[in-house]
Amino acid sequence: MPDGATPVTGPVLDVSGLKTVFNTRGGEVHAVNDVSFDLTAGELLGVVGESGSGKSVTMMSLIGLLPMPPAEIRAGRVSFDGLDLLNTDVETLRAIRGGKIGFVFQDPMTSLNPTFTVGFQLAEPLRKHMGMNKRQARVRARELLELVGIPDADQRLDDFPHQFSGGMRQRVMIAIALACDPQVLIADEPTTALDVTIQAQILELMKELRTKLGMGVIWITHDLGVIAGIADRVLVMYGGQVVEQAPVRELFENPQHPYTRALLETIPSVSGEREERLTVIEGQPPILGAAPTACPFLDRCDVATDRCARENPTRVEVASGHDAACFNPGAVPIAG
C-alpha cells in the first residue's frame, strides 16, 4: 500500500450482489450477475475480462451511467461515502460523478469535446463541483496539466483536443478525472487505444499519481500484462460474473479458476521460453440470455463435472484474500 494513503477503517467503495439486466427486443441480456467487490483507499484494483464479460457495465451501473431503460439494475448495493449509490437521487449522483468519483474512458478522442479548448473542459468540473471562479479554475487547471506531465501547460490550456496526440489526450482525460481530488478513480481500458511506448508512459504516470494522491483506482483492462505491472489486487470476470479475486502475485502464481489458468497460458510473452504452439481456450464466450443455472465457463472448461452443469458456483475462499467461483478450484485436467 502506498505511503500517501490515508488510514481508513473500511473500504471506500463496497459493491455487493450487483445485478444488471438489459431488456432488448431479442429478450433479456444478463450482463452483470451478482457481482461483489470492494476497494480500499490507495489501492489499485485491476479488473480483467474479455469483451462482453460485463466489466464496463458493472462500473457504469454503480454510478448510474447506464441508460434506463433498456438497462435495469435488478439487485445490489453500492456503498460509497455513507450512501447507497443505487438508491440515490439524480442530483446527488451528479455531484458525485466527476467529483468524488472520477472517470477515464477508453477512447480519448471521443470522450473529449472537439469544440471546446482543453482548458475549458478541465475547468468545467472545477467550477461545477468545487465552486471555483474562472481565474481560480484556470490556475488549478494548469497545475493539473503539469501534474500529468504535459509540457508548456499554460499555453496548452488554450489548445483544442485535436492539437494533442493520443497519449497527451489521455493525459488530459486523466487530469479532468483528477480535477476534484476524487476518492475513487475508475479507468475503463484507459490505455487500450494507445501504442505500447505511450502506454508505458501512462502506466508510469498512474503509479506515481496513485501514490501521490492516495486514491482508490479501479483499472479495467483485457491485458494481463498491464495488470501484472500495475495492480495490487485483481478481479477476473467472465460471463457477467466475478470468477476469481486475488492479490496480483497470488493470482499469477497460483490461479485457481480454470478460466484464469487458461487465460494465463494463452498469452505469449516477449521474454522467457517461446512456446511451439499456443494453448487455446476452445469455444466461444457464453451468450447471457438468461440468468445462469450452470457455470458460465462450463462449455470451455477442461475440468468440468456434472455438478458444474447443475448449479452456478459461488465464490469461495481458497486462500487468504483469494477466492474463486469454482467447484473444483485448482483442479488440473487428467493428462491424455
Binding site: 505500447v196 505511450i198 501484472a228 516477449v270 521474454s271 466461444q284
Partner: protein, 347 residues
C-alpha cells in the same frame, strides 16, 4: 538458441531457401493538398525507403506502432497502391511498375487477410458467396466445383459447412476472421499479407486464429508477411522480424536474435514497453520509457528518424541518416551506434 546456430540457420536460409518476395527501397508517399487552389504542399512519407526479402515458406513479422507505415507497406507490397518508388519482386517477377490491369492475372498468387473482419466482409453476401467470389473472378470452375471448393475451404479453416448460407453478422469475431482467411486461401496463393489479423479479437480467440494460420502454413507451404503491433504474438508466429519506425525499417533480424539481443534503441524501448504478464518480473529498473510522441511522417526530423526520442542520441544522429547495414549475418540495423564504415570522421 546459441548465436552460432542462428548464424548457421541463416546461412542455410540464404543458400537453400528461395526469395519469394524481394522489396527494394520501397517508397509510398501520399501527397498533401492545401489552400485555395488545392496545391500540393508536401508528402506524407508513410513508407520511405524500405527493403526486405521474404523467403519461401517463412513468416516475416512486421512490427511497429500505429502510424509507422507497416500497413501501408503491406498494401504497397501487394500493389494495392501505385507505389512512389522502388522495386517489388514476387516470384522473380517485377511488379513495382506493372499497371493494375496486368497485375490482375497475378493476383491469385498474392492475397491479403485484413484487420477488421467486420468491415472486410460484405454484410449482404452469404459466407458461400464471399469465399466463392475470388473463384468467380479468376477461375472457370463450374458451379458444383466451386461449391465443393468452398466446402473444402470452410473445413480447412474450421467453419461448419452447414453455415455456408448464413451472413457474416451471424458469426463471432473469430469466426469472421476465419471467413476472411478462407477467402484469401481460395485461389491457392503462395504469399499472404496478414494485416493485423488478430488485433480486433479477444485474447482467448487470438490464439485460435494464430494456431490456424500456423497449421495452414504447414499444410499448404504458405509464406506470410505478418503485420502486427503485438510483439509477443509476432515472437510466436514469425521466423524473422522487421521493426518499423516512421516509414523506415530500423532493425531486421531472426526472431531469437531480435528478442534476445535487440540492437536498435527503438527496438529495445519497444520490447521493454510491452507489459509482461508476470508481476514478479516487474522491477521497473531496467525499463526504458520513451518520452514524447512519434513525429509526423509529413515532416520527419533531419538525420535519423528516431533522434527526437532516442535515449542514446548523438550529434551525428541529428545530421546524417544512418545507413541500413548487415551487422551480423541476417541481422540488419540502421543506427549510428553500429556504423562501421565511412562517416566516422564527421563531415
Amino acid at each position: 538458441m546459441p548465436p552460432a546456430l542462428i548464424r548457421g540457420l541463416c546461412q542455410l536460409l540464404d543458400n537453400s531457401a528461395k526469395k519469394l518476395v524481394e522489396v527494394k527501397d520501397l517508397k509510398m508517399h501520399f501527397p498533401v493538398y492545401a489552400g485555395l487552389f488545392r496545391r500540393k504542399v508536401g508528402d506524407v512519407k508513410a513508407v520511405d525507403g524500405v527493403s526486405f526479402d521474404v523467403y519461401e515458406g517463412e513468416t516475416l513479422g512486421l512490427v511497429g506502432e500505429s502510424g509507422c507505415g507497416k500497413s501501408t507497406c503491406g498494401r504497397a507490397v501487394l500493389r494495392l497502391y501505385d507505389i512512389t518508388n522502388g522495386s517489388v519482386k514476387i516470384n522473380d517477377i517485377e511488379i513495382g511498375e506493372t499497371p493494375q490491369s496486368e497485375l490482375r492475372p497475378m493476383r491469385p498468387e498474392m492475397q491479403m487477410v485484413f484487420q477488421d473482419p467486420q468491415a472486410s466482409l460484405n454484410p449482404r453476401m452469404t459466407v458461400q458467396a464471399i469465399i466463392q467470389e475470388p473463384l468467380d473472378e479468376h477461375t472457370t470452375l463450374t458451379k458444383a466445383e466451386k461449391a465443393q471448393k468452398v466446402g473444402e475451404l470452410m473445413d480447412a479453416v474450421g467453419l461448419n459447412r452447414a453455415f455456408a448460407k448464413r451472413y457474416p453478422q451471424a458469426f463471432s469475431g473469430g469466426q469472421r476472421q476465419r471467413i476472411g482467411i478462407a477467402r484469401a486461401l481460395a485461389l491457392n496463393p503462395k504469399f499472404i499479407v496478414c494485416d493485423e489479423p488478430i488485433a480486433a479479437l479477444d485474447v482467448s480467440i487470438q490464439a485460435q486464429v494464430v494456431n490456424l494460420l500456423e497449421d495452414l502454413q504447414e499444410q499448404l507451404g504458405l509464406t506470410y508477411l505478418f503485420i502486427s503491433h503485438d510483439l509477443s504474438m509476432v515472437r510466436h508466429i514469425a521466423d524473422r522480424v522487421a521493426v518499423m519506425y516512421l516509414g523506415k525499417v530500423v532493425e531486421l533480424a531472426p526472431r531469437e536474435a531480435l528478442y534476445a539481443t535487440p540492437k536498435h534503441p527503438y527496438t529495445q524501448a519497444l520490447l521493454s514497453a510491452v507489459p509482461e504478464p508476470d508481476p514478479t518480473k516487474v522491477t521497473g529498473a531496467d525499463r526504458v520509457v520513451l518520452t514524447g510522441d512519434v513525429p509526423s511522417p509529413s515532416n520527419p526530423p533531419k538525420g535519423c528518424n528516431f533522434c527526437t526520442r532516442c535515449p542514446a542520441v548523438m550529434d551525428i544522429c541529428k545530421q546524417i541518416e544512418p545507413t541500413y547495414q548487415e551487422l551480423e549475418p541476417g541481422h540488419f540495423v540502421a543506427c549510428h551506434l553500429f556504423e562501421t564504415t565511412g562517416e566516422q570522421g564527421g563531415s
